[in-house]
């Protein structure tokens, strides 16, 4: 039996794996509860209101109250729904998201498994999430769900490709820096990438990468401005419209867990995770705090985008991915390739990437301005010239008007 060591106690291999799985599930549910509460509070702040305050001291027990409500609710299944697809969908959407937790580095030594192919594993498994969504859409035999499911599938595929290409660009940069005597196979693991960011976080080397990764993440999570699949004003809740009770809770939990994990991934890939300002020699406690500070910054950004952005239409969403994000990420990969192949220094990579980012945002701004019309105000105002009405010239009347 291969003894492996978990928190200082050596035990048989499979018990160790079991413990880690239990740890994943526990931490994820707690994190999801916290995120649900935080989202409602932060969203309330954006909308000039207070958010939940009744349950618990300042509403802190709100998500527990939600969970209890969901458990108490009856799991309704429409008669015409396809039994197996309808019931298995939440698990199919729920499990891959938990698997993504495995290669996530929280401190230098705290992670479930430092997989050599961490990044590829994350996206390989995350892809299965969409199967669950489509099963739910098709299973619940409801027009709105069908539309929501089709939109979700189209959106997932079209935003996964730019994200993967950007990850390739990041790994290229990491491989360049991590290559020890010609073997850069360590660059695949997320922890190694974080380890490399002691001095310069990758956001300086790949600003375009960060930008496209955040957009891809928003699309992957169906969060505004990409929440067309669950647009409440058109398809009224999209693929989980027929779910209720704990089944719906599972979709909800999966969504928030995916949000947390992808944000941790973004902060470790681009903001240096546990490593950036203080390096690796500082205590584990500070590293954990660092990770969570960066994660919460990004979470506020994601929640803010929910409050401040309307919803993109499905064809605009697709054309934005295929016509704008994809070309730019390909150019980014090629640029990285050329610079790194000819041994260019790191700041050149950063500069080129920053240039591409400026070009991208300029293009988006130009498209908006052209669409909006010449000036922002296409509405001129003509002075109100009433028809000839011989109205007495009114002097402001002081007292005793009658």
């Amino acid at each position: 039996m291969v003894l492996s060591e978990f928190a200082g106690v050596s035990m048989p291999d499979w018990i160790d794996a079991l413990l880690r799985i239990i740890f994943i599930v526990a931490l994820m549910t707690i994190m999801a509860f916290a995120l649900i509460y935080l989202e409602r509070k932060i969203l309330a702040r954006f909308q000039a209101r207070v958010g939940p305050t009744r349950t618990g001291p300042i509403g802190t027990l709100q998500s527990i109250a939600d969970a209890l409500k969901l458990i108490a609710k009856e799991d309704v299944r429409p008669i015409t729904a396809d039994r197996w697809a309808f019931e298995l969908a939440p698990y199919m959407a729920f499990v891959p998201v938990f698997l993504v937790f495995v290669p996530m580095p929280f401190t230098e030594t705290w992670f479930i498994r430092d997989l050599n192919l961490g990044l590829l594993f994350v996206f390989g498994v995350l892809g299965l999430n969409i199967v669950g969504v489509v099963m739910a859409a098709w299973g619940s035999d409801n027009k709105y769900a069908l539309l929501g499911g089709v939109r979700a599938a189209a959106q997932a595929i079209s935003y996964e490709i730019p994200m993967l290409l950007i990850i390739v660009a990041v790994v290229m940069v990491a491989a360049g820096r991590l290559a020890v005597d010609g073997d850069a196979s360590a660059a695949g693991s997320i922890n190694a990438i974080v380890g490399d960011q002691t001095t310069t976080p990758y956001i300086l080397l790949q600003p375009l990468g960060f930008f496209i990764f955040i957009i891809g993440m928003l699309a992957e999570l169906h969060r505004p401005p990409f929440d067309m699949p669950i647009a409440e004003s058109e398809v009224v809740g999209g693929y989980f419209v027929e779910y209720s009770g704990m089944r719906w809770g599972m979709f909800f939990l999966a969504e928030y867990t995916a949000l947390f994990l992808l944000v941790v991934l973004a902060s470790s890939l681009f903001l240096g995770g546990w490593n950036w300002p203080f390096g690796a020699d500082v205590g584990l406690g500070l590293q954990i705090v660092l990770t969570f500070v960066k994660t919460s910054v990004l979470i506020v950004l994601v929640i803010g985008s929910r409050a401040l952005f309307p919803r993109l239409r499905i064809d605009q969403l697709m054309s934005f991915s295929w016509k704008v994000l994809l070309p730019f990420s390909i150019i980014q990969v090629i640029a990285n390739g050329i610079i790194l192949a000819y041994g260019g220094p790191d700041w050149v990579v950063g500069l080129v990437s920053f240039g591409l980012l400026v070009a991208l945002s300029g293009l988006v701004y130009y498209i908006m301005r052209r669409k909006q019309g010449e000036g922002t105000r296409t509405v001129q105002t003509t002075p109100a010239t009433p028809r000839v009405i011989t109205a007495p010239e009114v002097t402001p009347v002081e007292a005793g008007g009658d």
């Binding site: 396809d82 697809a85 192919l117 594993f121 299965l128 999430n129 199967v131 098709w138 850069a184 196979s185």
Partner: protein, 172 residues
Amino acid sequence: MEEGVTATQVVFWILAVVMLISAIGVVTAGNIVYAALFFIASLAGVAGIYLILTVEFIALVQLLIYGSAVVILILFALMLTRARERPQALFGRSRPLGIAAALGLLAALIGGIVATTWTTPESSTAFEPVGLQAIGDAIFTLWIVPFIIVGVLLSIALDGAIMLASPDEDDN
């Protein structure tokens, strides 16, 4: 060297059974969408087999490409055309012909397996894991030509798809 059944063999047999069942499911499922879901299960099984052979890269790529992209496109197409349950295809006139062809293929496969002499690796444990760097070098140095040919092929296929999908002038 038959010393005890190792863990990998147990996992292998489980996966093999799962794949077999889902493969049969793909063929015999009445509902087309069930067939697609069984298809996903069998592909995941293949990825599992790769994992047992400790070639994670190919396993993850298999999961990524087949598991999420290809099958989703199939489901995408199924949902849009709202394919209803049409079991006729299973019980059509050519059913016996189909069974005969399947059995013939099975016989050929078993014959091939029995005839070849498998070179048993020296140690019974798996080979040493192949690093990412090795794969990268191999693709871009040793097998660069097929890689480019495949790239060209795929882009042609992409253009063909665009031509088919784009609404031709007369109907919009």
